[in-house]
Subunit: 432 residues, 3 copies
């Protein structure tokens, strides 16, 4: 189990990502089950749920299950120009089966490439409209000559099961923190294997703790339909129980940190995220909810309104490798993954300690008799004594610890020992 102080945690996470990279995931199908099975080895208490095709979820229904076995484009000489076995991005997600010979001209309507990124295979899906297609680099596409080609896709699209994973770690209270990540992306790394592996590391760390204040609800779902389905089943409970939460996505590279707030902003999640990013990272990109793009679209939707935001590295849609084969294992790094883990871990630690505090006495207490104040009064107090006095001077129970830290221009992490000292001295107590 990764220890929070383990400097090789980044390597461990990167290895998990490498193990999972080749698996062809989609909204549904064997690749999802294989991935959840791998994660269950790491998280023995992870439960895999299955939901039948056609199950209603608000305006949606669970789609058919898609199985892909083989797919290629072959020329008349039998040479395979595009082969699913080489890269599972080569086939459009949810492609129906096909086996047809046709002219390049006709085939062309089924091909996707990126002229401005000639070495990248784009990631294309067609979940809700039946079609088939291939994705390839623009370089290869340009080499294809007029002639006959065979488009072969051995896939199934039929009633089945949509799977997702759920892990609930009971805390001292029924208040919950939600971590949500998605497992529907095939061979890409920042978006998205980084989310599942960092979430797995967080889950292992949380499981290893003797106890937690909050209950942790950690879910691995296919994006959109998975979170919509999950919400359709649990939103009333979640609305009551959820005090904070994060969509864990795009947490693998090491180019930047970024933040995307919840819809209404200023929730506990937003406040802890920005507090921790400010003090641990300093300089980070701050997006608005208008730039949303992952499952916060569901969690924060009108009528759901959960306090969910995202702490990320390079955000989906903003980096050149996004949704292409260039978003690979080289794009993410052990350091990138570990940095994200530390920031999210710290955010959780701060949430666990984020009580409202109240001073035990009216007026300043006499710190000297408790050894908390120099008995000799000279010109200046030390910074620590000053901070201790500032905490007491503002501890009226109205502000939570994050609010108090922000008001004092301090990092919660550096304040915790002082809070502890004051609680031990019975000068400060948590408001319950």
């Amino acid at each position: 189990m990764p220890d929070s102080s383990d400097t090789v945690l980044g390597d461990v996470m990167h290895k998990w990502a490498a193990d999972l990279f080749k698996v062809c995931r989609s909204l549904t199908g064997p690749g999802v089950r294989e991935s959840l099975s791998y994660l269950t080895n790491l998280l023995p208490d992870l439960t895999t749920h299955g939901v039948s095709t056609g199950t209603k979820a608000f305006d949606w229904a669970v789609p058919e299950e898609w199985t892909i076995r083989e797919a290629y484009i072959e020329d008349e000489s039998g040479r395979r120009l595009v082969d699913f076995n080489e890269n599972n991005l080569h086939v459009v997600g949810y492609s129906i089966p096909t086996d047809l010979w046709m002219d390049l001209e006709e085939l062309d309507a089924h091909l996707h490439s990126l002229p401005e990124q000639p070495d990248a295979i784009p990631y294309v899906t067609s979940y809700y409209s039946r079609r088939w297609g291939f994705c390839l680099t623009h370089k290869v596409r340009q080499l294809m000559k007029a002639g006959r080609y065979r488009a072969y896709i051995d896939s199934d699209l039929k009633p089945g099961i949509m799977n997702y994973g759920e892990l609930i770690i009971e805390g001292d209270t029924e208040d919950e923190i939600l971590l949500s990540t998605y497992i529907c992306h095939p061979s890409m790394a920042n978006n998205e294997l980084s989310g599942p592996v960092v979430t797995t590391a967080l889950a292992r760390w949380l499981t290893s703790l003797e106890s937690t204040r909050y209950t942790y609800r950690i879910i691995f779902v296919p994006e959109t339909i998975g979170s919509v389905l999950y919400l359709s089943r649990h939103f009333q409970h979640l609305q009551k129980a959820t005090v904070a939460g994060f969509v864990v996505t795009c947490v693998g590279d090491d180019r930047t940190y970024s933040f995307l707030p919840s819809r209404k902003g200023e929730s506990l999640s937003d406040r802890v995220a920005e507090h921790v990013l400010k003090h641990m990272v300093g300089d980070y990109d701050r997006y608005t909810y208008l730039e949303r793009g992952s499952d916060e679209r569901q969690y924060c939707s009108p009528g759901i309104d959960l306090p969910i935001c995202s702490i990320m590295r390079s955000k989906y849609g903003t980096y050149p490798e996004y949704h292409t084969s260039l978003d690979d294992l080289d794009l993410i790094s052990p350091a990138g993954l570990e940095g994200s883990f530390r920031v999210l871990q710290t955010a959780i630690q701060v949430l666990e300690e984020n009580y409202h505090y109240k001073a035990a006495f009216r007026c300043e207490p006499q710190l000297g008799k408790r050894g908390l104040y120099p008995t000799l009064s000279k010109k200046r107090n030390t910074d620590d004594t000053r901070l201790l006095m500032d905490v007491l001077a503002h501890a009226d129970g109205d502000m939570d610890l994050i609010g108090l830290a922000n008001h004092l221009g301090q990092d919660v992490t550096t304040m915790l020992p002082i809070i502890e000292k004051l609680r031990e001295a019975k000068l400060l107590s948590r408001v319950t």
Copy 2:
């Protein structure tokens, strides 16, 4: 009837102004009646009301009625140096009758001119203190030689009637929008024939509509005493019914647009005015309520507190021709009048559509099955799809359309087709 898309509407309004220009209006008297009679030809449902001299209105009383027939200054040779027939600004408003020969020295106390604008005849009134006087250009005044002059004013000042016009266009609801303009200024154009003619065009457009959501209350009153009198009769009803409104004044030139907020600001009127000015005009002068100067002084006064603001071109008091004979038909233009009409018309159209909208489903709806979303998922959505999704993502019924548009950085006008599309698809509904 001017059509809202009629490109010659500006010319039509300018002609109305030209027709009305020569009429000598004041707080009371035949000039007001003649003007209201002209407007009644354009607005058959306009009702002219009369209120007797002495009628109480809060701290005020309706003044005596003033009739002016002739006024001039004549020298001993019989030459008329100043003649009311040439410009009705030549006589101080509400001058009592006089017919006296006197030295220039004595006459001088009754003369008004502007040394810094030697070609301008100033506009001067003395409504509530009995006096007589003449206004003239400083050039002419300087040419007057010592000698005897005859000051002749053939006027009446006696108990009579104060008139105002009122047009109520019933809407689907009893909520009202107030348009108020004033008809007490003699031969001046931006301040003030532009207000009555643009208001008339708006009234004709509103009358031509099959139906409106709001009831429109449109009044043509003498400034100050007219609005005070009107409020003294109707303020309780207006406080209950009025959702928004505008004082229509100084809307004729084409030098600038400007905005003067209601006293408390942030009312629906202020919000729609600033939204429309921002998107239709971009750059406009924003005044504060401390720079008020027209009938918003009454509508926004303590105890009245109606949500009334002003959308103007060059504001009263800010342009050199203000309250002089230089504020003539050349100062206003068809384009200036038409631009003001379009902005006010758009503000009204936005008010009519300014509902609170609520999404039909929790979570995002499945747009693809409704043809509102590309079925093939690639890297980027179009701007229209994005805007449509942004509308749904924020439609929690809390924000009105103007608030939603401002939040999304959009123009209500460009959002309306998307709102319509979503309502047709039953994905969005008005909160009632």
Copy 3:
């Protein structure tokens, strides 16, 4: 009695400070009583209270009473290197009695000097831990050679009395304004004889008034333990009665003005202080509550929450002479004391007039018939007429006078004659 227009008031206050300068004050003891006795000559109604050692006050207890008679360091030749009779800062406050010969090395642990201010004797106390010590200039300390020295302190530390002064000036209402200053500092001038002498001048001025709206509670207490004790006895009454108040400290030099807000800020005290400083001073230093350091620490503490702020000159802790012998009678000046007096006096005058005002009429009143408006309407109103109209236009009873002045960008002091004129004309009334 100092008259508020007396230009020599600064000299009078400076003389009081000079009279009191030599007295050796501390938390307790004869020096405090001597000082209170001097002030009672100036304020006949000042009551001196005594509280016994050991009396509980929240987390504190009244300390033993300290009497100091003599203290010196003598070398073997009988020469006194440090002598309490020359400057009472030479002995550490609350030093226990001692009479010991020792090597310089051993003595050194009991010596306090400031290497970076070699000519300054520092001010050091040890109220709550029994020790003894001497303070001296670094220059003298460096001249002390190895050898034997006698440390002699003739003091008492035994159960006794802690004294404070209290003066209550009854007003027309039971709402109170609190002035608090402290009397525990020995021979220093800005911090702190300036506070007691300016407070005394304010008390004399208030006593001289025929009547006041507010009741004034003026206390002279030892810092911290004095205000804590006072609050422990009166906080419930003070929470109900106190509408505003000031800690009067560091009001003697003439280098700057400064402001330290109450903990929550935006109280009436903060608002009047900033209004008056802005208009009387213009440029002043604005501290935050995090830079607090005097008795506002108690008055604004959680559970007390009185609206107390400080208007100061050079704030404690910010000027080089602070808490040393350099903070002497030359550091403060008659002009500095008088300027502080005027600002605090004006703040009190503004508080006395700070009513909510309501216009008598809906709509604008007719000012002309009351001689408050020119009867001849020309292009521009005078500034005074404009201000008068602005007051009426905003007098809805919601804003207090300070709020109204701030909204209009005016100084309350310049508005008062206009308020008076409008009240006389029965156009404006106070909201009660």
